[in-house]
């Protein structure tokens, strides 16, 4: 089976490494590394596993971002992807999910035929989980999100999709969009030979003109949503000390507070 797979990935700042300055209540970004978004690594890994099984599989990794996103694409190539493409242009900057999906769908049309698009469920900087489904909509293909298990059966795909209280087993044909979560697999490391090969590969950079997107469909000005205000969450003040006549009363008082806050 010669499958064509496209993996959508994003380079993100490692938000777990971000600290808040306790005095100024601002972000400390110093030394925060840029990484391949976690869920996207799972998306790529699943594509690579298909390639392990069907050697003729061709994997293209696609990203949109600033020029330095190339570093992440090299990492993807070193993990075993065949090809990588960077959509990058000032005109694409500030795109919301609607505009981002327009640009990425245009890039996918330019890549040509495909059987499966894998994407991560969401990126850790925006946490929207919207771009995958919106690309699928623009390309008019079916989707399954939150995929935790993947299997090809005859000409169809059978996946497990996580729900809050269980899971669904879903059959979906190709071409389709699947979004991966951590439970899907354990991403592999780059291999040494792969790193060497990867740095030799050319990574095409496609601007808005190359993508053939209309400037009313991409970028900050065209995006339906925009940021009105942004701020740091309020610094935590000292909390409330709970007291009571006996331990039981204190425990009850705490539970009432938790219920009041909808925490439980």
């Amino acid at each position: 089976m010669a499958l064509k797979i496209i993996v959508c990935a994003k380079q993100v700042p490692d938000t777990n490494e971000v600290k808040i300055d306790p005095v100024k209540n601002t972000l400390i970004r110093d030394g925060v590394p840029s990484i391949l978004n976690h869920d996207d690594a799972n998306a790529l890994e699943e594509a690579l596993r298909i390639k392990d099984l069907y050697k003729d599989t061709h994997i293209t990794v696609l990203t949109m971002g600033p020029p330095q996103a190339k570093d992440m694409l090299i990492e993807c190539l070193a993990m075993g992807a065949d090809e990588a493409i960077l959509a990058s242009d000032r005109a694409l900057g500030g795109s919301d999910t609607w505009a981002t999906s327009n640009a990425l769908a245009a890039a996918i049309r330019k890549i040509g035929e495909f059987d499966i698009i894998f994407a991560g469920r969401q990126a850790i900087d925006g946490d929207t989980a919207q771009v995958g489904p919106q690309i699928a909509e623009k390309l008019d293909i079916p989707q399954v999100t939150y995929v935790t298990e993947f299997e090809i059966v005859d000409k169809d795909i059978i996946v497990k999709r996580a729900l809050e209280d269980g899971y669904e087993k879903i059959k979906i044909g190709m071409p389709c969009m699947l979004t991966a979560i951590k439970e899907l697999n354990e991403p592999r490391y780059m291999h040494i030979g792969g790193i060497y090969e990867a740095t030799k590969k050319e990574i095409p950079v496609w601007g808005a003109a190359a993508l053939g997107v209309d400037l009313t469909e991409v970028g900050l000005e065209s995006s339906p949503t925009n940021v009105f205000r942004s701020f740091s969450p309020a610094a935590k003040g000292k909390g409330i000390m709970l007291e009571g006549d006996c331990d039981k009363d204190v425990a009850k008082a705490l539970l009432i507070r938790l219920k009041e806050k909808h925490a439980i």
Partner: protein, 430 residues
Amino acid sequence: MAIKVINDKCKGCKLCIKACPFDAIDMAGKLAVINEACTACGQCIPACPFDAIEKCEERAAEIVDLSAYKDVWVFVEQRAGKLMNVALELLGEGNKLSREIGDRNVCALLIGHKTDHLIPELYACGADVVYQIDDPLLEKYTTDGYTKVMTDAIREYKPEIVLFGATHIGRDLAPRVAARLDTGLTADCTRLDVNTGNYIQYLNKCTTLDTSSLDPNSEDKNLKQTRPAFGGNIMATILCPKHRPQMATVRPGVMQKLERDETKQGILIKVEPAIVRADIRTEVLEVVKAAKELVSLTDAEIICSGGRGLGDPSGFELITEFAHAVGGVVGSSRAAVDAGWIDHSHQVGQTGTTVKPKIYFACGISGAIQHLAGMQTSDLIIAINKDPEAPIFEVADYGIVGDLYKVIPCLIEEWGNAESLFDACSKTAM
């Protein structure tokens, strides 16, 4: 809107680069330059000591006729004939927004098959109108089926606002619907405002943001959608000024349900779905309800951590029992790991795992800086410690000074009674 650097004023100090969450500022010689990663979040503006960065507000607003769009809609998600809790929370929030806009209908959009039994509950929880879309093909959720009937209904009835619970299904459906309608969507909101005065009050109470440029009496009726971004490190308020409907997914457990009113009646509008089997390109083979598997520390909603204050390794038996009772995961301080009481995989802190659960119980943990670094962004922190001077109390939302071996068993015993305790308490308050 866009962020611009005023070249004459920029001194090349790079403070803006440090403030930018998105790596969107580069240096070109001695000037800061905004690159395409910019989301116009505005974090750099106050960071600049030279007032060299500005946000260009919208060009003269294009005239778009949005007046045809009315009413607040809630997608009332049901699974196997049972309403999700978040659907009722959103009806409550919908009522608040409707009052702020000026008496719009709050409408429940009920999609499924054989859902009649849910309608009285929707009225009782605040729906003025129920749009019911019923078809055997809609019995189980499918992206294709639900997207089709929902976009058709939105096109016909033109709601101004559409809210979804940010559940796995809501987050699957909403982006698809928004893309088909070519409108904006804001994910995982934790606060919604229409009234600018209320929004200013919220900002003043919860942030240090300068609100002097906002007019509390503004006639602006745009939905101000506030959400955490950047791993919860910043909050952003998002607008969708020129497209309708304004759509948002909202985190479960954040908004308030209305007091149930069984006498309340509403209007039922049955919408005939235009759907055939071929519209649905996936097949749900099986829906399985499963008890939650043991989750890792990073995914846990509740963490019960123990520290040196446990006294000896057997203390973790109580912590484990506690975690089991509350549906949580066991964590620990470094001191307890170093003492050999528990495996390193449980360690929370700078050299362990960074966690952000909904509730973090710190039991017998003094609160060393390195531990705080790994848990202080938890939604709620509860500290139980003998020593009233322990630094952990400085970051705790609720503190209990006492013997954890006495307090925790009480918590385990009463945990299941929280609802009735709360009800009893609110009754006596009234």
